[in-house]
Assembly symmetry: C2
Amino acid sequence: MVKMTGEGLSRRKVLAGAGVLATGAFLGRLSGGIADATMDVEYFGPVTAEVGKIRMEKWPWPYVKLDPAETAERAYHTWYRLYCGGAVIGSIFGQLAEKVGEPYKSFPCDAFIYMEGGITEWGTICGSNNGANLVTNLIIGPRTTDTEDGALMGTEIMQWYSDALMPVYVPKKPMITTAIPRTISHSPLCHISVGRWMKASKKPMNSPERKHRCASVSASVAYHLVELLNQWKDGKYVTKGTVGVQVYNISAQPDCEDCHGSNVPIPPAPLKKTT
Amino acid sequence: MVKMTGEGLSRRKVLAGAGVLATGAFLGRLSGGIADATMDVEYFGPVTAEVGKIRMEKWPWPYVKLDPAETAERAYHTWYRLYCGGAVIGSIFGQLAEKVGEPYKSFPCDAFIYMEGGITEWGTICGSNNGANLVTNLIIGPRTTDTEDGALMGTEIMQWYSDALMPVYVPKKPMITTAIPRTISHSPLCHISVGRWMKASKKPMNSPERKHRCASVSASVAYHLVELLNQWKDGKYVTKGTVGVQVYNISAQPDCEDCHGSNVPIPPAPLKKTT
């Protein structure tokens, strides 16, 4: 039922062999679905009726290959209006609105300004990552369809973001030309990503350098995201994405010691599969 | 230019008096906009052309008052198909699709399954909070319009979530009837919220109790979100929302010591306003 690309499938098989497959709600589809026999089925149809004039609940959305550098440049400059989430979403959907039309033309990109600063400055998930996951789930499709590539490409982006010396992308028309340091966040979170950069640069949050840095980070994510989407369009996408519950028995990012130090709590052991 | 409700405005004035107003990129609109004179204007129009058949980029979206308990019940059961973000979004937009029609009918609620487990199980922002912020920014409108109520209602929900003894809402038709503990997360993050509950309950991630708990948390958020939206519809919404950069000089949640202990780093001092 679920199409899996080669490497992802292999990893799943290894994990299943290690006895952790049953821990992941994520793998509900693979292991027979999350629905219990006792489930109240009244609410379980699609949330919205498929009678709208614009069929946004039909996947995959039409996609044509984009130029990563052009996308990154758009993302960089869009950041100064919509910040990180809106930059990633708007740079890609804006081009597809021009080249493809609907459903991109009708999609409310501006609303995703809310993702900025880790959701309205709360420092949680970097909007570049939040936006990238939305893009992969809208273009490729969510896990309610017959593919997990959208979900796994989103997690791949978060791991890549966490490991990269950021910003990777150098804009062609930068807002400032001052040299800035690059840092590794080891996390997809805004507070940690921007905090480590501020520590290295000694530049405050409202400095032109910090804005240029975050705009360049969004551009870097948009660039790499389009590289992956182009691979997917060519039928060549092999995911490097993994999900936390399979490995950690709790929803988690992979850097436990970064917050917990050497005293990492052990979650309650997963229930064994009975079916 | 920006409509502010009484309490929010007062808070802003206090903060401005304390000299921290200039630190907030969030307050760019209030302090004259983020646009620099050197800005490349080529990319700064709305991302998508306003020619779609469904006008999603027009705010506020039509809203009719909903029943909080009915919304919560829908959210609880939708969780078992779309998890936390999809539950909050789908419970509200599903009803509005029935009562109002577009643009809710066309909105792709299923894609927001990606918010589950703190974004595909990475444990970052709880999807209930991610989804609630999306809902407020889509119904009331983003900060690119002439109101900040959408943004501030989103932050209010995150603070309420962090402080609440969760889950608050008790479903009328629960999937299980076992008593479960309630816990305070002190954070809007999935990993911390569910981790503290798992520690208190000693129940694993894949247990029926944990699923029931997270579905009930989503229902609690949906309930309170509709209470606030109904106040807004009546013209009586006075925000309790605040944003991090104003207070902390970095995007942050308000519980610094929870991760940093007594050794909380001090971010570089903000640049003074020159205009």
